[in-house]
Amino acid sequence: MHNDEPLLIEQAKRYDQKAISELYKRHVQNIYRYIYYRVGDVNVAEDLTAEVFLKALEGLEGFTYRGIPFSAWLHRIAQARIMDHFRQQARRELLPLDERLVATEKSLQAVTEARLEHEELQSALAQLTEDQQQVIILKFVEGLSNAEVARILGKSEGAIKSLQHRALNSLQRIMRREE
């Protein structure tokens, strides 16, 4: 965390444009990557990223440092948005076939545009459990510490180490199988 972040947050609470821009620029790529690896679709990831920051802005007034860093708070908002997306998608699967085809074509186009490397990793991650995915993304994509991941997921550091172990075990099996 940057030293000036609490000050920036206080300024952003008063809707200071510079402070809001600065906070956004510091966190946007991490939030985007976190969302992208969870949803696997560039367009959806962009939409959800926008939604996370808009929600954060609306709720900023109530944010206080109580053992949770700003980035962790953003990740929690992102997690809530991702879950909303999956629920909505589950409902969309009940749509008539034509509508589903349109949605699939769009996703196909977006995914083919994505780099192979991301795609492979995302595909492997998708086979993990929800918590395992989060631990891998937060620790190895975003480079957060066990303590930070624990705060975001609301678990102990011991639980994070355990999840990390199981997640890496599963991933290496998946990757070996896919080679």
Binding site: R14, Y15, D16, Q17, I20, K25, V28, Y32, R33, R38, V39, G40, D41, V44, A45, E46, D47, T49, A50, E51, F53, L54, K55, A56, L57, E58, G59, G62, F63, R66, I68, W73, L74, R76, I77, A80, M83, D84, H85, Q89, L108, V111, A114, H118, T129, E130, K139, V141, G143, N146, R151, L153, G154, K161, S162, Q164, H165, L168, N169, L171
Partner: protein, 387 residues
């Protein structure tokens, strides 16, 4: 070795990987009996770390930032209770405004009301033109944020346009500052409109569209008569006007669904454009206006603190226009728009981040999404992928 021990050793090796001078090999050498088990796991982690991860494109980054700043503007406007001017101002605008006030009020008190009045017909470069612009600043100074201010900016944009036309017709020249002021006043009107009450917004947006259309017609006619040296500035003004027009059109599109759900509200046509600059005999300049005691000066209501928390502040009024069409809007509808901070939720742990309030509708209140036990069947990430 027990599982927890192996987990701890794995974690130690993973942490060491990011320490200078450390390597996977060195860590594995410390635990040779487990090297076979640890090596593939550490290698997977290393592979993920080294992967070139996706980046949000520059255009998307910028577009989201713009939406965020627009939203911030709306929220700021909604915080400022109409009729209660924000207090905090930086010194420079305060001093400038105070100086303008003193000069204009002194002129009025010294029987100079006529001077202010006479200045209304002045053109850039005239001795009284500064008084005219100062009087406008005073009007803005006392105008409450929202509809009134937006109307003033529209009016001043219209005036600058008339002045430009009059200058080229009577003196055969163009004033760059006045041209820039056309765009500036239009921009300020657009910004102000975003923060006004939805009931008033459509009418103002219609006026903005009408104004920008007229700007383009007038500027093109001016361009035909203006000297070569003025063409560049006129082109810039035309481009700025076009941008303003597009933004106003977008704003109107956003207003349409709202209008359809309300009783018919016919847009008030903007005042008829004047082909040439004509003195307005009935115009009363701003300085004579009685200041409202509840107002404290502010420049367009930005970066200022309200005197108190305004009642009725919510996202209800300003939320919808910033919601993008399509998927996001659908999500908003499904997730009750509980405005963060309203529900009394706090945002530290065990705080609920904004937007998570809607989660409770979908599951047991005590089970926030994404908090399932490891090994649970909630494999949300498995869904929603492209092929």
């Amino acid at each position: 070795m027990t599982e927890p021990d192996l987990e701890a050793i794995l974690d130690e090796c993973l942490q060491n990987m990011s320490t200078p001078g450390e390597s996977i090999e060195r860590c594995l050498q410390r635990y040779p009996q487990y090297a076979g088990q640890l090596a593939p796991l550490v290698q997977v982690a290393d592979h993920i770390r080294r992967t070139s991860h996706p980046m949000l494109s520059a255009s998307a980054t910028q577009a989201i930032e713009q939406r965020l700043l627009r939203k911030a503007g709306e929220l700021r406007q909604s915080r400022a209770k109409p009729g209660l001017r924000p207090l905090s101002l930086s010194w420079r605008p305060l001093v400038t405004i105070a100086a303008v006030l003193i000069v204009v009020l002194a002129l009025v008190l010294a029987g100079g009301g006529g001077i202010v009045y006479a200045s209304t017909d002045s053109l850039p470069g005239d001795p009284l033109y500064g008084i005219k612009r100062a009087a406008e600043q005073v009007q803005l100074f006392f105008a409450p944020a929202g509809t009134r201010r937006a109307e003033l900016h529209l009016k001043f944009a219209e005036r600058r346009l008339e002045e430009t036309q009059a200058l080229v017709e009577t003196r055969g020249k163009v004033d760059e500052e006045t041209l820039a002021a056309i765009a500036q006043e239009t921009e300020l009107a657009l910004e102000e409109v975003e923060g006004v009450h939805p009931a008033d917004r459509s009418e103002l947006v219609e006026k903005l569209i009408s104004l920008t259309e007229r700007q383009q017609a007038v500027l093109k006619s001016v361009q035909a008569k203006a000297p070569e040296s003025a063409q560049k500035g006129l082109n810039r003004a035309l481009e700025a006007s076009q941008r303003g027009h597009e933004r106003a059109r977008e704003a109107l599109e956003k207003e349409k669904p709202r209008q359809e759900t309300r009783p018919t509200q016919s847009p008030t046509p903007f005042e008829t454009p004047k082909p040439t600059h004509t003195p307005k005999a009935t115009h009363t300049p701003g300085p004579t206006k009685t200041p409202k005691p509840t107002h404290v000066p502010g420049k367009h209501g930005r970066g200022q603190e309200p005197l108190s928390t305004p009642p009725g502040r919510s996202g209800e009024v300003h939320g919808p226009p910033s919601t993008p069409p399509g998927k996001l809007e659908e999500r908003e509808q499904e997730t009750p728009a509980t405005s963060p901070g309203k529900s009394g939720e706090e945002h530290g742990p065990p705080a609920t981040p904004p937007g998570q309030s809607g989660e409770k509708e979908h599951g047991p209140p005590d089970t926030p999404p994404g908090q399932d036990k490891d090994g649970g069947k909630d494999k949300g990430g498995g869904k929603g992928k492209g092929p």
